[in-house]
């Protein structure tokens, strides 16, 4: 007989909306950015109404992402502060990848991998915003020198690739670790999932009245 535990609430509706605005804008930014980054991917500009429209839209979507991500940052940064258990978890990353989580420390709401995704994207999006503004010639061309723009182009491309790689890890983790996706779609996870992956957090949650 299957045991059905009460779902454990993980994300509020507001947090979920915040997440999905960020997610959609990040995907659109990756597509439009890659279109302008590599000639072989220039065909992606058709998704945005052509080259000119891609060039016009990309920075505005970036503004949406920056504001939206700031929301996520403020919501979750306290929960993503590094602690000793995270270091132990990272040392046992090999076991985690091999689906052997037994013997790892009990975790709060986020494990070290999730925290690295969080801080990685926080830093990269901050750099992308800064370098992106320098490259936004329509409004800001006159504020920087050409050399600063050149440097920004390299920084922007590097950070974008970094952010895309982290995004791949983030999405893959959600596919790999079953039962995760419901946290962001419906806002809750099963008790078993919470027990298995974030036991300390689960104990806190069920401890609540």
């Amino acid at each position: 007989m299957t045991v059905h535990t009460k779902p454990v609430s993980r994300y509020t509706t507001a947090a979920r909306i915040n997440h999905w605005i960020t997610a959609v804008s990040l995907v659109l930014l990756a597509l439009s950015g890659m279109a302008l980054f590599h000639p072989s991917l220039y065909f992606l500009t058709y998704l945005f109404g052509g080259g000119q429209m891609t060039r016009i839209l990309h920075p505005w979507i970036g503004v949406v992402l920056a504001v939206s991500f700031l929301g996520l940052f403020l919501r979750f940064f306290m929960l993503n502060l590094w602690n000793r258990d995270d270091t132990v978890w990272m040392k046992n990353l090999g076991s985690v990848i091999n689906n052997k989580e037994e013997g790892l420390p009990e975790l709060g709401k986020y494990n070290a991998g999730q925290k690295l995704v969080f801080w990685g994207q926080s830093i990269l999006i901050f750099l992308l915003l800064g370098s992106g503004l320098v490259l936004w010639d329509t409004y800001f061309a006159s504020y920087t020198t050409i050399d600063q723009k050149r440097l920004s182009a390299v920084v922007h491309a590097l950070c974008a690739i970094g952010a895309i790689l982290i995004w791949i890890v983030h999405v893959y983790a959600a596919i790999w670790v079953k039962g995760t996706l419901s946290a962001m779609t419906r806002g809750s996870v099963s008790g078993g999932w919470a027990w298995k992956h974030h036991r300390k957090w689960f104990r806190q949650e069920v401890g609540k009245p």
């Binding site: 535990t5 010639d137 390299v154 790689l165 790999w176």
Partner: protein, 301 residues
């Protein structure tokens, strides 16, 4: 613009396919030679450029120098830059006709992300094809000479075309045609280098020991060259770069980064797929659910 299709391309921006002219006999490289020592600063070339290219430079302001307009614009593809060079008791007025140098290895074309927005014909002329231009300003970052200007109205990039539309029918550029002192020559690049040699010999005989040709090798030579009285110090001429080359940052951005980035993304995707195939999903077990029910139950009891 249909006549443009008669041009054979040597390079095409953001295109990895061989340009249409590959395998065909290339046109003879052309060049414009600007003899700074013969320029009187009359700006006939500027006027001819505006007229031939039907450009409309709005009336601006004077900043107290003879530079007018004070910088290149989307309409002024060439501007005379006046420099007062004082040395000892001597004052020299160095007047340089600024504009696109038509680099043999064009940084603008290298930086451009829009296929076919910047092309180089087999005769060496670098041209912007406005239809394909998306207005991103990458050409500005690629250019070692700070030449392209982006229009606030059309959001397209503009610069000197070396009158490619005149050259294709055997005419010299409008500026060369208009110059009253023949400070601007136009012909095959070999002829222009040979002619510059004669001019330099003449200048040296008149005391300009450092006279020379400006045909910078950092960009594999240019299709607009200068005869300079002081070729040892090009920067005297209103900041003409001494050793122009495509910025290494642009080289990285448009070089190794492109294939490496796609490879990294492909690798990450493949790693995920292989991980799933070999290790399988991470599943919550019955045991986990039971333990959860136990803890939740006991805490709530």
């Amino acid at each position: 613009m249909s006549v443009m299709q008669a041009f054979d391309l040597r390079r095409r921006s953001a295109s990895s396919v061989p340009p249409p002219a590959a395998g065909k006999q290339a046109a003879v490289p052309v060049a414009k030679l600007i003899d700074v020592s013969k320029c009187i600063g009359c700006k006939a070339c500027q006027t001819a450029c505006l007229e031939w290219n039907q450009l409309d430079q709005p009336i601006g302001y004077t900043d107290g120098t003879y530079d007018n307009p004070t910088d290149l614009t989307t309409a002024s593809w060439t501007v005379m830059r006046f420099t007062e060079y004082e040395h000892g008791d001597d004052l020299e007025w160095l007047i340089r006709k600024d504009g696109c140098m038509h680099c043999d290895d064009p940084g603008c074309l290298k930086a451009c992300p829009a296929p076919g927005a910047i092309v180089q014909y087999t005769n060496g002329i670098v041209d912007f094809i406005s239809d394909n231009c998306i207005g991103c300003g990458y050409c500005v970052k690629g250019c070692p000479f700070n030449i392209p200007r982006i229009s606030q109205v059309t959001s397209k990039a503009y610069k000197c075309t070396l009158c490619s539309d005149r050259v294709v029918v055997g005419q010299a550029p409008a500026c060369a045609k208009a110059c009253p002192t023949q400070a601007i020559y136009f012909g095959t690049k070999d002829d222009m280098i040979a002619h510059a040699g004669k001019r330099i010999t003449d200048l040296k005989s008149r005391g300009y020991q450092n006279a020379g040709l400006y045909n910078p090798q950092g960009v594999n030579g240019t299709h607009v060259m200068y005869v300079l009285q002081h070729a040892d110090r090009p920067s005297l001429y209103a900041g003409l770069p001494d050793n122009p080359r495509i910025s290494p940052l642009v080289g990285i951005w448009k070089g190794v980064m492109k294939p490496l980035s796609l490879a990294a993304i492909a690798f990450a995707g493949a790693f995920g797929l292989m991980h799933y195939v070999t290790k399988g999903p991470n599943k919550v077990t019955e045991h986990d659910e039971e333990k959860a029910a136990e803890v939740a139950g006991s805490d709530k009891a």
